[in-house]
Amino acid sequence: MTEARKVLILHGGLLLLLFVLQFVLPAYHHGNLARIMVLASFAMAYNIMFGYTGLLSLGHALFFAAGMYGMALTMKHLAFTPAPALLAGLAAGLVVSAVIGALALRTAGVAFMIVTLMFAQAGYLAVLYFGDWTRGDEGFVIQQAERVLWGLDLSDPTWRYFAAFTLFSACLLISLALVRRPFGRTLIAIRENEERARMLGYDVFAMKLGAVVISGTMAAAAGASYGLLFGYAGASFASVQYSIFPLLWVLLGGAGTVIGPFLGTLFMFYLIDLSSGITTAYMLIAGVVLVLLTLFAPQGLAGEVRRRVWRWLP
C-alpha cells in the first residue's frame, strides 16, 4: 500500500467514523462531540503555526475571539444574517492575524511568545473595556431565531453536529493538503532549520506570515462557528486560558501531526469533563498534564505513534 493511500484511509476513516457516530451516540455525547469538533478545528489551526512552522504562540485566543466577535457583533449591532456574519468573523481573523503576524514575526523564540501573549491580553482587555458593545465578562446570547443558516436551524442538535462536522472536515482537509504541498514542506523546513531555509532562497518571513494568517483565519473560523453553534459570545473566550488550551490539546495529541489536535482535544475534553464532576479545580488536570507532557512525552500521542509504528503519519 502506498503512503498516500494509507494517509487517505486513516483520515477518511476518521471522518467517516465521525459522520456515522452522530446516528448512534446518546444525546449527551452527541453534543460533546459537536463541541469537540469545533474546538479541534481551533487546535488544528494552532497546529499549523506551532506544530508545522515551529512558532509557539501564546495568544491564539485573540484569533478565536476575533472570529467570534466578528461574527457576533455584526449580528448584534448590524443585524447581519449568519452567512455574512461568518464571513465578517473570517475577515476579522484574517486582518488581526496579518497585523499581529507582521509585528510579532520581527521577534523570535521567547520574545515571540511574550509578544503574542501581550497582544492577546490587550485584545481581552479591549473586550472588557468596550463593555457597552461586547457586554464584557457577562457576554451575550445569540438568539435561536438568528441562528438559522440557509434554512437550517443551527441550535438543533442534528444540524449543529452536521455544521461542526463540516467545519472539522474542511480544517482537516486543508491541513492535510497544506502539509503535503511544497508550501507546507517549506514550513517544516523552516521549523527544522530556519537559517538553512533562508540560505536556500526561501523568503522565510513571507512563509511564516502565510502560516500565521492561515492559522489565524482558521482559528477565527472555529471561533465564529463556536459562537454561532452554541449561541454565546463572552470575554472568557478571549482570555489567556483559551490561548493555553490549544497549546495543551496540540501537545497532548502530537504537534506536527494532522490527526493529533483532534486526539488531544478529545482526550482533554473528556478528562476535564470527568474531573469537573469531582472537583471545581478541574484546571488542575490541565496543569498536571502539561507538566507530565513536557517531562515525558514532548511528542504527544500521535507523535509517539509516528515514532514507533506509523512513520508515514503526516
Binding site: 509557539l56 520581527r106 521567547v110 511574550i114 509578544v115 501581550m118 473595556y129 497549546l247 472537583t279 496543569g287
Partner: protein
C-alpha cells in the same frame, strides 16, 4: 478634592504598587537573567506568599504584629523551598530549554493555583496590618492671602503604606548587596555570564539555579506578604502581578536589575495615576500594548543597552 492633592494621592497609591511590583519583578528578572528562562508561574508564587501569610497569621493568632512578622519570615522561605523543589524536579529535567520551560511553568501555574483553590477555597481573606494609623497630608496652595498650608479632606495615607515602601527599598538594597558583595552573589553572576565556563570552574551550576529560582519566588512571596494587609489573599490574585512583572522586566531590559527597578517605579506610578484618573482596564491595555511594541521594535528594553 482639587487636581493637585488628587494627583498626590494617586502618586502615593502608585508608589505602594511600585514598591511591591519592584520586589516581584526583580525576582522574575533575576530568574531570567541568571537562568535564561521565563517563569510563567511567578504570579502563583506571589499568590502563595499571600495565602500563606493569611494562614500563618490566623494560626498564630494574638496581636496582629506577631502573626504578620512570623508570616514575613516564614512565607517567603516556604515559597522559596517549593520553587526550588519545582526547579529540581521539573525544570532541571528538561534542561532549562526556554520554550519547554514556559510550557512547564504554565502547567505549574495551574497546579499551584488549583491546589490553592481546593485547600484554601475561593474566598478573599484579609490579614490585619501590624500597625495602621492614618496620616493626613498637608497641601500648600497660593490663595489671595499668599501661600497657605492646609489639610485637604481625603488626602491621607497610612503608616503601614509608608512602611511597605520603606521595607521594599530595604529588601532591594539587600538583594543588591547579596549580588554584589557576597560569594554566592559572585557565583550567580558568574553563572549568568557564562554557564559552561562556570561549570568548568567547578561552580555547582544546578544548585545555583535552584537557589536563584527559589530566591526569585521568595521575593515575589515577600512582596505579597507586604501587600496582603492592603489587598486581600485570593487564589486568583497572581494574575496581575505576573502581567505587571512581565511588563516591567521587558521595559526595563531583560535581565537588567537596575532597569527593572526603574521600570517598576515608572509602571507602578503611572498605573496608579492612570487608574485613578481613567480606568484601570485602559491602563492595562496601554501597558500591555507598550510591552508588545517594545519587544518588537526595541528588544533590549527601554533602558537596556545590549541585546537580550
Amino acid at each position: 478634592m482639587e487636581f493637585g492633592p488628587y494627583l498626590l494621592l494617586a502618586s502615593l497609591e502608585g508608589a505602594v504598587t511600585a514598591a511591591v511590583l519592584a520586589l516581584t519583578a526583580v525576582g522574575l528578572s533575576l530568574v531570567f537573567g541568571v537562568m535564561r528562562v521565563v517563569n510563567v508561574a511567578h504570579g502563583e508564587f506571589f499568590m502563595l506568599g499571600a495565602v500563606l501569610a493569611w494562614w500563618i497569621a490566623t494560626t498564630l493568632g494574638g496581636h496582629p504584629a506577631v502573626g504578620f512578622l512570623a508570616a514575613l519570615v516564614i512565607a517567603p522561605v516556604v515559597v522559596a523551598a517549593i520553587a526550588a523543589v519545582a526547579d529540581m524536579t521539573v525544570l532541571k529535567r528538561i534542561a532549562y530549554d526556554p520554550e519547554r520551560t514556559i510550557v512547564a511553568t504554565i502547567g505549574l501555574l495551574y497546579i499551584l493555583q488549583q491546589l490553592t483553590l481546593m485547600t484554601y477555597g475561593p474566598e478573599a481573606r484579609p490579614v490585619e496590618p501590624p500597625f495602621n494609623s492614618r496620616i493626613a497630608l498637608p497641601w500648600i496652595e497660593r490663595t489671595a492671602e499668599g501661600w497657605q498650608m492646609y489639610y485637604p479632606w481625603g488626602l491621607a495615607t497610612t503608616s503601614y503604606k509608608l512602611a511597605v515602601i520603606g521595607a521594599a527599598v530595604a529588601v532591594l538594597l539587600a538583594v543588591w548587596a547579596l549580588l554584589a558583595r557576597t560569594r554566592i552573589g559572585l557565583l550567580m553572576r558568574a553563572t549568568q555570564l557564562d554557564r559552561d565556563m562556570a561549570t568548568a570552574f567547578g561552580i555547582p551550576v544546578e544548585r545555583v539555579y535552584a537557589l536563584v529560582f527559589g530566591l526569585g519566588a521568595g521575593l515575589a512571596a515577600l512582596g505579597a506578604v507586604l501587600i496582603v494587609p492592603i489587598q486581600q489573599a485570593h487564589y486568583l490574585m497572581g494574575h496581575d502581578p505576573l502581567l505587571l512583572s512581565f511588563i516591567v522586566v521587558i521595559i526595563g531590559g531583560l535581565g537588567s536589575l537596575p532597569g527593572t527597578v526603574v521600570a517598576a517605579i515608572l509602571i507602578g506610578l503611572s498605573d496608579g495615576i492612570i487608574s485613578v484618573f481613567f480606568s484601570p482596564t485602559l491602563a492595562k491595555i496601554i501597558a500591555t500594548l507598550l510591552v508588545g511594541f517594545v519587544l518588537v521594535f526595541r528588544p533590549q528594553g527601554l533602558f537596556g543597552t545590549r541585546a537580550a
